[in-house]
Amino acid sequence: MKTIVFIKEVPETPDGVKISDSGQLAVDGDRAFLTDPIDPYSVETALKIREEKGGEVIVVSAGSTRAEKFLKEALAMGADEAVLLSGAEIEGGDPTATARALAAAVRKSGDFDLLVVGDRAADDNSAVVGPVLGQLLDIPVLTYVSEVREVDADTIRVVRTLEKGREVVESSLPAVVSVVKGIHEPRYPSLLGIRKASKREVPKWTAADLGEDPARLGAAGSPTRMRSLAPPPAPSGVEMIEGEVEEAAKTLVAKIIDRKVL
């Protein structure tokens, strides 16, 4: 079983997040970054499958060289290999352009059984990359997966948690799975794992290595473009209801009834 997991660096806070000249999400360089909070869950999902079925886990990220640190965190958790897709032609794309680079990396790395992504990234929140990988690689996609029930050589059975309930779905492999938080509690990397990972060299692939048309990658290849990015409008101000509890409750209920929201 060969599983490829996709992880992503995200800014720690909204401060310093801005639009690049080409209308994409960018962050002032001196800000702190984290691995996306969903990433450890994605990595854990792949490690659990490897424990049961054997095989290997490869972690891939497209982004700046900063992301190497987070790939090493995944290696420290137990992933076998890591690859960073980097360079001006790949960085700074929208989720669709990024997915094209990721798909090209998957093709380059040969046969595989499973791709694991997070349900949505913490910065762009777009939930685009998983379904796009499915289309580009012509494999089925299973989104919002909260449980992997069974994996065989060529099928996977998962639980998708949707608005009104849980759907148990079976799919052929290879497939893309997008996981939600809480699917498996991520393990902590061992000290030995951290030490070994810190010494590893993470291979870096550029657009040229991927053999993908640069016009389809990065900012140049992005079908969406931001025109502005700003905090939402400030709230109108609170009306505090004073007085004894009973009185206050009465006043508040009257005000809410007045607003005709019920």
Binding site: D94, V132, S222, P223, A249, L252
Partner: protein, 327 residues
């Protein structure tokens, strides 16, 4: 001839889903001469076309086949992409439910472009089509242009647009189209559906949400929250702190890493109002905060606030609402 605007119709609990209707209203505003077409994939389309027509569709396109009994990206995307290649709509609007978001992203990719997800507004600027959407879990709002060369796909967040009035007099051209299905069938198969405990977890559709945070002290603290929610016919929400504590399950979580909600009334009890929580609920129509700390940040986004012990205030509110709503 100018190109059409498509609305992908989704089935709800009874008939067409509410978000579909909201989007039909918006599509009517955006549509030019090319008009607005509602497209429905299902195993059974009875009553659907008539309902879509009452909500303003100029044309209704029905793709009926057993392969569409349950949503599955394989067949839905294949059939819709084939039809879109043939008819070449300018814009495709998709209800932003979880499956809808998956569909929008995959359909846009199948057509060579990219989707803009969970839009809260869509408008034109000359030849450009722009959408507003949240980034970083609602901490920032962006105006995004969809420059896809083919059809421009957008998914639309529930309650982004008002429910349009029904018009029994509107007449639509209703057409049944034989869908182009995926050869070899769907690669995914629904084995089972386990329905949730009901409306209590369906935060996205709820008009009223009563949420509890760490101020509840224990899992049993949720009893007072549930009572108030019951009286108001609302759903129960929660902060991440209490979900992490195991006091309530993850589907109840509101915020950056939980659900984004926009009820008519949101009552936050014993929730401090961390930025990640606010991200998921700050656009609610009316926000009420109950907290014993007058400096809690939740009061910054609330419309009404009471400083006090929630175990005293909430039962009082429950009693008063019960009186007011029965009277």
């Amino acid at each position: 001839m100018s190109r059409s605007i498509w609305v992908i119709a989704e089935r709800g609990a009874s008939g067409v889903s509410r978000t579909t209707k909201e989007i039909l209203g918006k599509a009517g505003e955006l549509a030019g001469e090319g008009g607005m077409t509602a497209v429905y994939c299902g195993a059974d389309a009875s009553g659907i076309a008539e309902e879509l027509q009452r909500y303003g569709a100029g044309r209704v396109c029905l793709l009926v086949d057993g392969a569409f009994e349950h949503y599955n990206a394989d067949q839905f995307v294949h059939a819709l992409a084939a039809l879109a290649r043939e008819k070449d709509p300018e814009i495709i609007l998709v209800p932003g439910s979880m499956n809808g978001r998956e569909l929008a992203a995959a359909l846009a990719a199948a057509l060579g472009g990219g989707a803009v997800q969970e839009c809260i507004d869509i408008r034109r600027d000359g030849d450009a089509v722009l959408a507003d959407r949240a980034f970083l879990g609602g901490n920032l709002t962006a105006v995004v242009e969809n420059r896809s060369e083919g059809p421009k796909v957008f998914s639309v967040r529930p309650k982004a647009f008002p429910l349009p009035a029904e018009d029994a007099g509107n007449a639509a051209d209703i057409e049944e189209v034989t869908p182009v299905l995926r050869e070899g069938g769907s690669r995914t198969k629904r084995v089972e559906f386990l329905a949730d405990e009901g409306k209590t977890v369906n935060l996205t559709d709820a008009d009223v949400i009563v949420s509890g945070g760490r101020g509840l002290g224990t899992a049993e603290g949720f009893d007072v929250i549930r009572e108030l929610a019951d009286v108001l016919g609302g759903a129960v929400g929660a902060s991440r702190a209490v979900v992490d504590n195991g006091w309530i399950s993850y589907p109840h979580q509101v915020g950056q890493t939980g659900k984004t909600v926009k009820p008519k009334l949101y009552i936050a009890c014993g929730i401090s109002g961390a930025i990640q929580h606010l991200a998921g609920m700050r656009t609610s129509d009316t926000i009420v905060a109950i907290n014993k700390d007058e400096n809690a940040p939740i009061f910054k986004v609330a419309h009404f606030g009471i400083v006090g012990d929630l175990f005293e205030v909430v039962p009082q509110l429950t009693a008063r609402f019960r009186e007011a709503l029965q009277g």
